[in-house]
């Protein structure tokens, strides 16, 4: 459901999520096209744009992967139309091959790449990547907002900078900027410009040597110009002999704890808004006369190293602190900033010892994320394990099914990157005789699973590849992919069938099974396990959470299951091996919580004594 405030009138003050504010900024910039691939913490930019594309009159799509999304946006920008793509940090790893050359060629219409880092990995398993290094590697001008208002304003500005200097501009956030809400004062929405025209321009687009070197030189000049022209965005607050340089959400934390740090008396703050290129003149001026400087930034010491290098020339006596007092790992909060600065600012360190002591006494059962009740992946995992046992190598991939890493399944032996499961399985099989089962989701298959599958066919290994086809990109909020039956604009479309794709690679050994049928699943796995050919099982069953949303929109509910009184023999197969969150075990009672059951009925198939049966229906339209 679209947030109605996204299209509110100019001058209104509304509360937006950072990511929604970025979407609004793009609309206020008259963006004509957006192409994204979901990845939290960036997903809500696309979700917001997708929900209002028709109303606002621009084109939106969820592309097959981030590289494609970037290329689609760049194509529009080559043709003079303003375009935005949003992705999570790992997405930029996928897109970067096309980003690098387009920084050289430049664009005609404004092109904004929104990238969100995720320190602490709230919604990312793979690494604590610091995307700011890419800005330096690719010479990509980069802006960093600190709150929702700036998310909107800087997105708009990023389009202007991009168009004026004919260069793609990156808007970099972190989770706590993208996923924080804030009051935003709205600006005017112009009519979006959606029609462009590609004009041949060999001087810009022919990036072959020796023209490449000329483009490189032109790029360097652009960066120098931008460094000077946007100096004014960075701000200095306060006065004193102690300096603090900060950007992003750390700035907000610093302001929050100001009162606990003696009001930051005698402290001068530099807030960096453009973090690439960093203005040398701004930092030079700031460093003059300072005894001490602190650099507050999450993750790697990117700004700190810049400041250290510059300080050698302009003020070698300044003492510089950064990662010596603050961690490179995880994310900060107001307390980390306060504790790090307090000793230097003669402020009291906060004392929470009483609080700590009480907290230590509280021992709560952990509540980790789990597959939803009724999730088709649980049923697939259960069947595969039943047939293949524990000794198989489980080549995992990225999606809701990463949760299969946890007890009691433990069926992802490694999780590397989207689409990596098939190449890794191939490599393992080339050097060992082990059985390997691959689990890969449908969205991930289209995203980056096709090239390694072709490779396996071409080079002859025989993993069992289980494609978990739940119809949507579930983990990030049920976005459509090429195999879905709807588009990012909300229109119906013909799904591209995974079996057709797989067959076209020359794979004949394909089984399509109902993900909610243990019988079908187990039979298919047995057959594949006995076969000496590469086998693909497409386990098809709609994401249960997605289905539930569709159902509730129509006022329906799932019908429920129950444990028949007296029949249960307390073997606990459903509790300990199937592990559905709706099945409870208390004392010597096993029962299903009706309010948590989403009616898939797979538990009834795994119960060895048939003790689980349908419960009475509550309403007529329940399914």
């Amino acid at each position: 459901m679209a947030n109605p405030d996204l299209m509110e009138k100019e001058g209104k003050k509304v509360v937006l999520l950072g990511n929604e504010a970025i979407a609004r900024g793009a609309i206020e910039a008259g963006m004509g096209l957006s192409a994204c691939y979901p990845g939290t913490p960036s997903s809500e930019v696309g979700i917001a744009l997708s929900a209002i594309a028709k109303q606002a009159g621009f084109y939106f799509e969820w592309s097959t992967n981030e590289k494609v999304a970037y290329e689609v946006a760049a194509g529009a920008a080559f043709s003079g139309v303003r375009a935005l793509t949003a992705m999570k940090h790992f997405g930029l790893n996928v897109a970067i091959d096309s980003v690098m050359p387009t920084i050289y060629t430049g664009v005609k219409g404004g092109l904004v790449i929104m990238v969100s880092d995720d320190p602490l990995g709230h919604s990312s398993a793979q690494s604590e990547q610091d995307t700011r290094f890419y800005a330096r590697m690719g010479l990509i001008p980069t802006l960093e907002p600190t709150n929702a208002q700036e998310c909107k304003d800087l997105t708009k500005l990023a389009f202007e900078i991009s168009e004026k200097h004919r260069i793609p501009v990156m808007l970099r956030t972190t989770t706590m900027v993208s996923h924080s809400i804030g009051t935003v004062k709205l600006g005017k929405i112009p009519q979006p410009k959606t029609k462009g025209n590609f004009v041949k321009d060999p001087e810009s687009f022919y990036c072959l040597p020796p023209a490449l070197q000329q483009l490189h030189e032109r790029l360097n000049k652009k960066i120098d110009t931008i460094e000077l022209a946007y100096d004014y965005l960075n701000r200095i607050e306060g006065e004193g002999k102690i300096g603090i340089i900060t950007s992003g959400v750390s700035y907000q934390y610093l302001k929050e704890v100001k009162k606990d740090l003696n009001g930051l008396k005698g402290v001068k703050i530099a807030k960096l808004v453009m973090t690439y290129p960093i203005s040398r003149s701004f930092v030079t001026k700031f460093l003059k006369g300072l005894d001490r400087v602190f650099v507050l930034e999450e993750l790697e010491p990117v700004v700190e190293q810049f400041v250290r290098a510059l300080a050698k020339d302009v003020n070698p006596r300044t003492e510089i602190h950064g990662k010596d007092i603050l961690s490179r790992i995880g994310e900060y909060n107001p307390e980390t900033i306060q504790s790090a600065l307090a000793p230097f600012l003669k402020a009291k360190k906060p004392d929470f010892s009483m609080h700590e002591a009480y907290l230590k006494k509280i021992d709560l059962p952990a509540r980790k994320a789990v597959l939803c009740p009724g999730c088709p992946h649980r049923s697939t995992f259960y069947a595969v394990k039943k047939v293949m046992g524990d000794q198989t190598v489980w080549s995992g991939d990225i999606g809701c099914y990463v949760l299969g890493i946890q007890e009691p399944y433990k069926m992802e032996d490694f999780i590397v990157s989207m689409g990596s499961s098939i190449g890794l399985a191939h490599g393992i099989q080339k050097v060992s005789d082990q059985k390997v089962v691959v689990f890969i989701g449908d969205s991930t298959f289209f995203h980056a699973g096709m090239p390694p599958l072709v490779n396996s066919v071409a080079h002859g290994t025989k993993p069992i590849i289980v494609i978990l086809d739940n119809g949507v990109t579930a983990m990030t909020g049920h976005q459509p992919h090429p195999g879905s039956d709807f588009t990012g604009m909300g229109d119906k479309k013909e799904p591209i069938k995974i079996e057709d794709v797989v067959r076209s690679f020359g794979i004949a050994n394909i089984k399509i099974v109902n993900a909610f049928s243990q019988k079908e699943l187990q039979a298919a796995i047995k057959e594949m396990s006995a076969s000496d050919k590469l086998g693909v099982i497409i386990s098809r069953g709609l994401c249960r959470l997605y289905m539930r949303r569709l159902l509730r929109k129509q006022g329906g509910e799932f019908s429920k299951f129950q444990v028949a009184p007296g029949k249960c023999k307390k073997c606990l197969t459903c509790v300990k091996q199937f592990a559905c969150p709706a099945i409870m075990h208390e004392g010597d009672k096993v029962y299903i919580r009706e309010d948590l059951c989403w009616g898939c009925g797979v538990c009834a198939q795994v119960c060895p004594v048939g003790a689980i049966i349908p419960a009475a229906r509550r309403k007529k339209n329940d399914v």
Partner: protein
């Protein structure tokens, strides 16, 4: 003064809905609003709270340690889990006692603590607390346990634990579920007028 509300629960939807309503209502009253809405794994049964802060001018999106004014918990374990943000001089708790036992408690035979135990855990951090079987009551009286959070908003406003006007909350509901606000308004009013 900034007013800090931490909303905790299981499953995501109720938590997100509640925080949107509180944030919108505060915005209608002219406050500066900040907070967090972590989506990520919230949907998959994880325990991820949202922060909503409102006042004249708010800086950090995160509530600083021990500075919550209200912990609004849609599940009792989750009330206890976030005592980090609570302080007995300041923090009120309103807690739906409808439990959701974590899968891992089932798997490893971990006890779900009794309410008495949860109350004991919370009390060193609580100025005041209200335990109410909201989902259950809503299931019986309104026919939908998912109304529990909206009913609790009513209780929080009526008791002054949430210093926002009831009209603002109703406006916020209308803005958030424009197609069918009546169901939530009814649950909210039910909470406003609820007497044990």
């Amino acid at each position: 003064m900034t007013y800090n509300v931490l909303i905790a629960g299981v499953g995501g939807e109720g938590v997100l809905f509640t925080s949107v309503i509180v944030a919108r209502a505060a915005n209608f009253e002219g406050f500066d609003v900040r907070g967090t809405q972590l989506h990520g794994l919230a949907q998959r049964g994880g325990a991820i709270p949202t922060h909503v802060r409102f006042g004249k001018a708010v800086d950090s999106p995160l509530i600083p340690r021990a500075q919550a004014d209200l912990i609004f918990a849609l599940e009792p374990l989750e009330a206890a889990r976030f005592c980090y943000f609570a302080h007995k001089d300041r923090t009120n708790f309103i807690v739906d006692t409808y439990p959701v036992k974590p899968v891992y408690a089932n798997l490893f035979d971990k006890e779900y603590p009794t309410y008495e135990k949860i109350k004991q855990m919370i009390s060193p951090f609580a100025k005041n607390f209200v335990f109410i079987d909201a989902s259950h009551i809503c299931d019986q009286k309104l026919g939908d346990p998912l109304d529990g959070n909206t009913m609790m908003l009513g209780l929080a406003v009526a008791s002054g634990m949430l210093p926002l006007k009831k009209e603002s909350i109703i406006e916020a509901i209308k803005r958030t579920v424009p197609k069918d606000p009546e169901k939530d308004i009814k649950a909210f009013r039910f909470g406003l007028e609820y007497k044990e």
